[in-house]
Amino acid sequence: MSAADTTDAGIPVAPVYAEVDVAAGLAERLGAPGAPPFTRGPYPTMYRGQLWTMRQFAGFGSPEDANARFKFLLERGQSALSVAFDLPTQLGYDSANPAARADVGRVGVAVDTADDMVDLFDGIPLDRISVNFTINATAPIILAMYLVAAERQGAASVDLAGTLQNDILKEFLARKTFIYPPAPSLRLSCDVIEYAAGALPRFNPISITGYHAREAGCDAVQELALALANAIAYGEALVARGLAFDSFAPRLSFHFATTMDLFEEVAKLRAARRLWYRIATERFGAAEPSSGRLRFFSGNSGTTLTAQQPLNNVVRSTIQCLGAVLGGAQSIHVMGYDEAYEIPSEEAVTLSLRTQQIIALESGVARTADPLAGSYFVEALTDELEARARALLDELDAAGGAAAAIEAGMPQRWIAESAYRLEREVSTGERPRVGVNVYATDGDGGALGEMFAADPGVAERHAARTAERVAARDADACRAATDAVMVAARGGGNVMPPLIDATRAGATLGELADVFRSVFGEFREPQLW
């Protein structure tokens, strides 16, 4: 069977579907929107009640640079923020660190101190604008700095809404911004979730993410299984601490890719909700329906965008955004058409936001919940994705669960092999890519308009600013607060309260990450290649 007759995940597709192709018991598998098993969506009226949150991922340069881009987006009708941090911030290095120099302010904003976080949100009321933070290994430190910034604005923590990615397990699978070994990393993630369960009722302390494994090369079925296996691992770790599942599960959120195979993607998102409901009730004995109600953010796929004929990417992103909407996403990011090369230009990011707004306001797809329900094809595909993902979850269980499987390198191999297979299919032309292996024309590369220009002086300026702030802080108070973080890290108490105190006292991200490095050590990825 060729790629033309199967979905992206290799599921055979018949020329026509009919009633006979949908297994009996569909009504029970669907339920109503907003009701178990939530196949049709987490809320009864879906987008009629509230549109999805339009949340373009943004950040570069200094906190002031990123703040200006945030305001640019909010002025154009974006409804919430999503912060991209630079790699040094993600990996626990201050801007002055020699290991960080080349990467300061490149893929995101540089944040060294709580004062930087105050600057990042200058003029943006944190009790009214929800903020997503794509941060993992240093998530507890970044959350602490955000809470200090909110406190300085006078915002009450009960009003803070947003999401911290904080899904460290998937960093070992893909994305790779881990610092510490898996076990202490998992402990830090769980400290955040436990802290938020008491203190931050409107905040999602984790976004359990299949997206990066998918972008690294796995297929839709593997994406489902890997995200849910990680969700199970967090759930088990928190229950093992003595927390009731229902005390934290309603605030767990998810993140899936939405790529080009429209119906497979919609089916995947519907299957994800049903799978999680079953896991929550059958495995964890959830009593609250909201514990099994999966809510997710969808990032469109950067790897489907091409450097050749870049305007074609606008069309690709439109289809992907539509897939996320038909799949019932709670918030969406649309890629910039120039992202194969650079941070999106203002023109590209505006077009991404307009893509969402046109789908929301002009296409009519937001009028009714789960509009594809009952389609013979979509229901058959939803059932098939669910069954295949369950089979993979069983394999991961048999391997000892997500953490053990990751340590053994099993899912990493799935991802790399699938990426290689896809790339060969593109090379041979078996998998069409318009403008790349079909309808390609000479001189297609780099035909972009205005390009984003990175600021080469940002590392030096930001390092100098942090040095001034370090010189101005009360050194004794800061040292005492940092020592308290060390005590919590060593002793097993929740690190969040001392981290908040330490960032308030002016401790830097690099200093606090070093405290954890000294207690937990650093992880070096085993080479499976």
Partner: protein, 133 residues
């Protein structure tokens, strides 16, 4: 004898390793001997490994936009280490940056969108050139 010995690595802090693993697998399928050093490798580590492994070609991949700064460090360290081995750079490299990289002493640049067979042919050709040099 294999057509080339290739050392691959990710310099800087960028974790996007899909591309470099795909290239590693494709080079191996083409008969090359490939050592992939992994993530966050310093210029010193990369050239030490290249010399120890008697590499014909060194390939690095950068998708964070830091390719110019990182290539500059790599080219400088290659000279310090006295390693006369061609360097290939792949990643999110705009056309004008590709020229800058070549002018700095990078032998070949393969921006995103380069076809896999083209990358393999380029690396193997550099390897063959080294062996006949």
């Amino acid at each position: 004898m294999s057509p080339a010995r290739v050392v691959l690595a990710k310099p800087g802090l960028d974790g996007h390793d899909r591309g470099i693993k795909v290239v590693a697998m494709a080079l191996r399928d083409a008969g090359a001997e490939v050592v992939y050093l992994g993530l966050r490798r310093t210029p010193e580590e990369i050239w030490r490994a290249a010399v120890d492994e008697d590499a014909d070609v060194v390939g690095v991949s950068v998708l964070s936009g830091a390719h110019i700064a990182l290539a500059a460090e790599l080219v400088a360290e290659r000279m310090r280490a006295g390693a006369d081995i061609p360097l290939v750079v792949g990643g999110t490299v705009p056309a004008e940056d590709a020229e800058t990289l070549r002018a700095m002493g990078v032998e070949a640049v393969h921006p995103v969108g380069t076809s896999l067979p083209l990358v393999v042919d380029s690396v193997l050709a550099l390897g063959a050139r080294e062996r006949t040099a």
